[in-house]
């Protein structure tokens, strides 16, 4: 429109002023450009082959290591800036040594860890057992209310002691067979770290140290030259964030970033994407305390109503796997025997009719609560579930909530007087053990469970004390029991993440990628210059 102005004869009178205005605009433009650039840190982040540019969904609220179990924080911090003593191999579920070279159960309630020598923090201080003890103490026993504390360790405090520079003992109140796995969630920080408040920018032992954090714009990491392990290929890494998936995808297409997380499944066809199972499992949690969902037949009917293949193919880009249990393959306790329920509308309808005949108020409105942004296509999924539940004769309404509201529905104490709720949940299995899942989601009074049965509760408690093959069998058995006799959950799918990867790099995503994007595993593509 503006060109038509200046090219028309009648506009001629306006030109000098227009030019003035444009100049003025340009001036503001330029000055404000400087100001923003100034506040954002200057660096243009061009593709120079030495900087790895990663685009996330949101700015990490903090880089505090004890909050690393928050996805937004952990994806930057874990294994890049700070490291734990022990790490879990996402593929096999085995524990591998990292800052600890070995560990063993030295007493029924005590585990001993051998601390690696020759490791230094970014501030130059050497790593000792005392640092490790400090870190565990800070994350688990302090008043910081770290996220890792409640989720991984429950409420019990740990007794931590540095025996000498390279030996650490951890003592629990009850025998804990999976303590090393729990310890893998604690990122190790130097003993000089603040214990009174959370830190925003941590010091760690990882391959990268925080270079700069321009609030709102970008976080830069620099390669730490004193890193004890193999040096990563990229000298620098930059994180930026865009909340719109199509923009993240566009940045890969445009060459503005090498890695983009959480792309839309619709992009899956491109060769610049890589899908990976992300250890998240979606399910519909049926509130068994409220009619009509208090009737087992109705819950089973809901389970039968869900068209898992249809949802996975049409809405999730074919990337997910229909699920029959809350834990995906690779997690201790996953049962290979359980197969996802197949949709059977006739049978489901019959079940609902039978329940109705027995006086169950099947016409009562059920609220299907889902959270915006839970995963890509969540509102369509909710619509599909609603439609499928309606098809079998139930009355369902969808309510899309924000995170905080969704949490109110998810966590005990559960909201009162809201009628029967079918809550769409997405459970992360990063811990790699069904024990975490069952105590939260299946235990009758579990923090995220609406009801349970005594039998199931007993089996959960028993299984938690076991280890090895027995543990595996016990959990697999009780997961099957939930599907038979409890049906609090109508499982939907084991989800997949979709990563955008520029052609200039090589990276194999794994199930932990969503929580822990290891920059050291990213390499320049063959032929691309270093």
């Amino acid at each position: 429109m503006k060109s038509s102005v200046s090219s028309t004869r009648r506009a001629a009178p306006g030109r000098p002023r227009a030019v003035g205005a444009m100049l003025l605009a340009g001036l503001v433009f330029a000055s404000s450009g400087c100001a923003v650039a100034g506040s954002a840190g200057g660096d243009a982040g061009r593709a120079d082959g030495r900087t790895l540019r990663v685009v996330l969904t949101q700015e990490p609220p903090t880089l505090e290591p004890c909050e690393a179990s928050l996805t937004g924080t952990g994806v930057v911090v874990r294994s890049n800036i700070t490291e734990p003593l022990v790490e879990r191999d996402p593929a096999s579920g085995e524990l591998d040594p990292l800052l600890a070279t070995g560990w063993k159960q030295t007493a029924p309630r005590t585990w001993t860890f051998d601390i690696r020598s020759g490791v230094t923090f970014h501030n130059g201080a050497p790593l000792t057992a005392e640092d490790a003890a400090f870190s565990i103490d800070r994350a688990v026993n302090s008043d910081l209310a770290c996220n890792v504390e409640g989720y991984v360790f429950g409420n019990d405090d740990l007794e931590v002691e540095a025996v000498d520079d390279h030996r650490l003992t951890v003592t629990t109140e009850e025998p804990d067979p999976i303590l090393p796995l729990r310890i893998s969630f604690v990122e190790i920080v130097p003993r000089t770290t603040d214990t009174g408040a959370k830190v925003r920018v941590p010091v760690g032992t990882g391959p990268y140290a925080v270079g700069s954090w321009k609030a709102g714009a970008a976080i830069s990491l620099d390669r730490y030259d004193g890193y004890w392990g193999e040096a990563p290929d990229f000298a620098r890494a930059r994180y930026v964030w865009r909340s719109d998936a199509s923009v993240r995808a566009a940045m890969i297409d445009k060459g503005e970033a090498e890695i983009a997380v959480a792309l839309d499944p619709m992009e899956a066809g491109k060769d610049t994407t890589a899908a990976y199972p992300n250890n998240e499992t979606t399910a519909l949690r049926l509130d068994g305390r409220e009619a009509p969902l208090d009737d087992l037949r109705v819950r089973r009917a809901v389970d039968l109503a869900v068209d898992r293949e249809g949802i996975v193919d049409a809405l999730l880009g074919g990337l997910a796997e229909p699920a029959g249990q809350l834990v995906p393959p690779g997690v201790v306790g996953h049962s290979d025997e359980i197969s996802p329920t197949r949709q059977n509308v006739t049978e489901a309808r019959a079940l609902v009719e039978r329940a109705a005949a027995d006086g169950v108020p099947t016409g009562r409105q059920i609220t299907l609560v889902a959270r915006n942004g839970m995963f890509s296509g969540v509102s369509e999924t909710a619509e599909a579930l609603q439609y499928q539940m309606q098809q079998i004769g139930l009355n369902v309404k969808v309510r899309m909530a924000d995170t905080a509201t969704h949490l109110q529905y998810q966590l005990r104490p559960l909201p009162e007087d809201v009628g029967p709720i079918a809550l769409l949940i997405m459970h992360g299995n990063q811990a790699g053990d069904a024990g975490f899942t069952t105590s939260q989601y299946l235990l009758g009074d579990g923090p995220q469970s609406t009801f349970g049965t005594e039998a199931l509760d007993r089996r959960i408690t028993e299984a938690g004390a076991l280890s090895g093959e027995k543990r595996q069998r016990a959990f697999a058995g009780l997961l099957a029991e939930q599907n038979e006799d409890v049906v609090q959950y109508a499982h939907i799918a084991h989800m997949s993440g979709l990563l955008g990867l520029s052609r200039s790099i090589r990276y194999e995503p794994n199930s932990a990628t969503g929580d822990e994007l290891r920059l050291s595993e990213v390499h320049p593509a063959k032929g691309a210059k270093d």
């Binding site: 619709m266 193919d313 049409a314 942004g373 439609y387 899309m400 909530a401 924000d402 509201t405």
Partner: protein, 334 residues
């Protein structure tokens, strides 16, 4: 109230008509029959097209839902994202969305929902805002100050924020949506009505009515409202556009119309992730918004002239030389 004094007499009384009216005075003063609105509409091609589009939209909104039955909700996951084609009957004409629902049926249903949100919202804010504004403008003084400050408060609250709080935190029901949209738009009418009433309150016919002891309520209703109404209605028509766009923005943030209900705004918002793979999901409802609002704007401009005796003559001129007054009245605040 300096800002509201936008309507200094010489600005609104369109002096451009005076000399022509003078010249043509002999003709227009005693014109035996005024041309019917239909004929005038027929002469203005743009307005006629706009009227047809608005009429179609209104008809679809009123009678579309019974006609399509449950087609808009019938899902068929196997038929996901079918492009528009002629092979699948009427309902396949515009393709299907990601859940395999017919786009034709979705658009029809969305028309009804969109209008059922936008129309009540606009009417509410029109009624409340105009009433308050006329009352404030007619009485002046303290009452006027209070009303204007109320408008200022509403305006200086980021409206999207209120929307997020009410819709996200409490309940994203259609009723709340209508209320939010209505409340945030009240100041527009309040200001416009106040300006009109303030200007009219000193006019002779109002004074005359006052001296006869007519209660102020009646004066406002009988003398002030009829004169202010055309302007207010024009603003309302244009506000329609704003309300639809806001509803769309709210859908983008996930707090607009809630599925399985569907509105144009929601369709555009949900469809944007399929822009590259299935353009029709987002482009068609977007087109519906643009077409409807442009038609409403054109029609509002036309109606404004057509209802103004001093300007009606413009519409009857031959096309080539027809001067036009503003398609958007200056009072319009987006």
């Amino acid at each position: 109230m300096p800002r509201e004094e936008t309507d200094a007499p010489e600005a609104t009384n369109s002096p451009d008509t005076t000399d022509v009216a003078d010249a043509a005075g002999g003709a227009s003063a005693a014109r035996p029959r005024r041309p019917s609105h239909w004929r005038m509409l027929g002469r203005d091609r743009a307005a006629a097209v706009g009227a047809v589009i608005i009429a179609v939209v209104a008809l679809v909104a009123l009678f579309g839902r019974p006609a399509i039955g449950d087609r808009a909700r019938r899902q068929e996951l196997d038929a996901s994202l079918r492009p528009p084609s002629l092979d699948d009957g009427v309902y396949g004409l515009l393709g299907t969305d990601v859940l395999g629902r017919s786009m034709v049926a979705r658009l029809v249903e969305a028309t009804a929902t969109t209008l059922s949100v936008a129309v009540p919202a606009v009417l509410c804010s029109l009624a409340i805002g105009s009433a308050l504004g006329l009352w404030a403008g007619y009485h002046g003084g303290r009452r006027e100050s209070v009303a204007m400050r109320v408008a200022d408060v509403i305006l200086s609250f980021p409206s999207l924020l209120i929307a997020v709080v009410v819709l996200y935190v409490f309940s994203p029901s259609a009723l709340n949506l209508v209320l939010i949209l209505a409340v945030t738009r009240i100041p527009v009418y309040l200001r416009t009505a106040r300006a009109e009433a303030a200007e009219l309150r000193s006019r002779l016919f109002v004074d005359a009515a006052r001296t006869f002891g007519t209660p102020s309520r009646m004066i406002i209703y009988r003398h002030v409202l009829p004169i202010a109404l055309p302007t207010l209605l024009t603003v309302a028509t244009l506000d329609f556009c704003f309300v639809m766009l806001t509803e769309s923005s709210l859908s983008f943030l996930g707090i607009g119309i809630q599925p399985p209900d569907v509105s144009w705004g929601l369709m555009v918002a949900q469809g944007r992730q399929y822009l590259q793979t299935a353009w029709w999901i987002t482009v068609l409802p977007g087109l519906a918004i643009v077409l409807t609002t442009v038609s409403a704007t054109v029609l509002a401009a036309w109606a404004r002239i057509a209802t103004d005796p001093a300007q009606r003559w413009r519409l009857t001129l031959p096309k080539r030389r027809r001067p036009r007054s503003a398609p958007v009245p200056p009072e319009m605040i987006p």
